[in-house]
Amino acid sequence: MTFDVARVRKDFPIFEREVNGHPLVYLDSANTSQKPVQVLDVMRAHQERYNGNVSRSVHTLGTESTEAYEGARARIATFIGAASADEVVFTKNSTEGINLAAYSLGQLLRLGPGDEVVISEMEHHSNLVPWQLLCERTGATLRWFGITDDGRLDESSLNDLVSERTKIVSLVHMSNVLGTVNDLSRIAARTREVGALLMLDCSQSVPHLPIDVQSLGADLIAFTGHKMLGPTGIGVLWGRLDLLSQMPPFLAGGSMIETVTMAGTTFAAPPARFEAGTPPITEAIGLGAAVDYLTGLGMEAIHQHEQDITRYALDALQSVPGVRIFGPATVEGRGGTVSFGVDGVHPHDVGQILDALGVEVRVGHHCARPVCSRFSVPAMTRASFYLYTTTDEIDALARGLDQVKKVFG
């Protein structure tokens, strides 16, 4: 069965609107995705009919709300192949998930001078700054993989970088700038060999690729709801249950306790241990609906559609004179996020002119300044695709770039 993108688009009301007098061409899904009515309807229905607080009420609304919240957790667990729903911790977003992990692992491992944490130059700031801070707090040393000229992780010094001193390796699964999908098999094997923990920032991969946490080789992954058709304010930290069970809490308060006296507190088992306070209930249920929607279409089919679109886009961009693509030049080992430069024109100006034509792209350093520095540019223009992206939209981007060159030529 071929992927029916026209039918998919009918589920997204936002595509009915215009931007600056042009049909909306939304090429910024790596930033945040659009939402289908199936997600919006579930969230509205919950607020209108079932609203009650979770995990603390005996009344009917509270029970229904809890069932919906925990049901979402279970479906998300299935979606990523988790061994149990208890391995799925709801967070605010990927950033909170990674901060939780950095804080809690730092304590669990009693990180200190002589220990090392390994990341890469390819990281979003959210998988970089928390580890920098952890190392500053504990005296551990931060080390990192570089990026090759064609936008891949440079594994040439793997055995030196990941050594007996390494306690945590935390890497991006798919780059939010270069689109690179990192093949982590060698790094995962080496990490296990030296007895360190592997965390993956899956913010860009879980929305776009079939993911099975059992085969990824990671101990923890983080991802965020709003990049996968869900709402903002909800994300997930997945962890192996035996690891989560040992990790100390990050945020403390209601819902995360077992028993509290004035003298001290014992903590609930995961995932509750890491979900202090009233969680974003409606958002979690919305993310559950998003996962249902993605599962209905099939992640393999979505991935295939994005590969087709990305191939088309790489061809289209490479045929525009003066355009330089950063990252892998073919679809092998990359996803549908393509960053590029236009000779002699600053990305802000590229983005502004494209916006005037209804084409929404991201410009700037994409919260990954070291990636821009690696390619010696202050900023990049980025087009990113999803299940609703069409070849017509890529054509609109290419036409827009002609206009950019006309204004600044």
């Binding site: 600053h346 990305p347 802000h348 100006d349 410009v363 700037g364 900023a379």
Partner: protein, 151 residues
């Protein structure tokens, strides 16, 4: 096209042929400002008597043209006049397009009136002016209280 208001010929001219670009010695105060959301950067140097204002930077057409206009308008002005120009430019950029710029004060700066209608770009236009203000302060020169910058 809506962009006519943003990319005025004057702005594109200053961008393509910037006035006074390049850092020069001697100077009494220097400031380096960065726009953290987009990575644009500018360094501005000033002499105590404002007879010399030099700059260098990386950035979009709006921020770089704005630096060129700043140089053209403010270099060599006496302090009172420099403060008046600085105030008028910042006020224009905060106006959301509701202020009619005075060409007598702002010269080519009036071309930035259109930029004020694009909130995401206001900070680009202001970057060199804020760096200038800081550089002047470090040279012991107070160009006065600016209208509050919210961008």
């Amino acid at each position: 096209m809506m962009l006519d208001g943003l990319y005025q010929e004057i702005i594109l001219d200053h961008y393509k042929n910037p006035h006074g670009r390049g850092l020069r010695d001697p100077f009494d105060g220097e400031a380096h400002h960065v726009n953290p959301t987009c990575g644009d950067e500018i360094t501005v140097r000033v002499s105590e008597d404002l007879s010399e204002i030099s700059y260098d930077g990386l950035g979009c057409s709006i921020s770089q043209a704005s630096a060129s206009v700043l140089h053209e308008l403010v270099q060599g002005q006496e302090l009172g006049r420099a403060s008046e120009i600085h105030h008028a430019f910042v006020e224009l950029m905060q106006s959301r397009g509701q202020v009619e710029p005075d060409e007598e004060v702002l010269g080519d700066g009036i071309a930035f009136a259109g930029v004020a209608k694009f909130p995401a770009r206001v900070k680009c236009a202001l970057l060199p002016w804020m760096a200038f203000k800081d550089a002047a302060a470090r040279a012991g020169v107070d160009v006065g209280v600016s209208p509050e910058v919210k961008a």
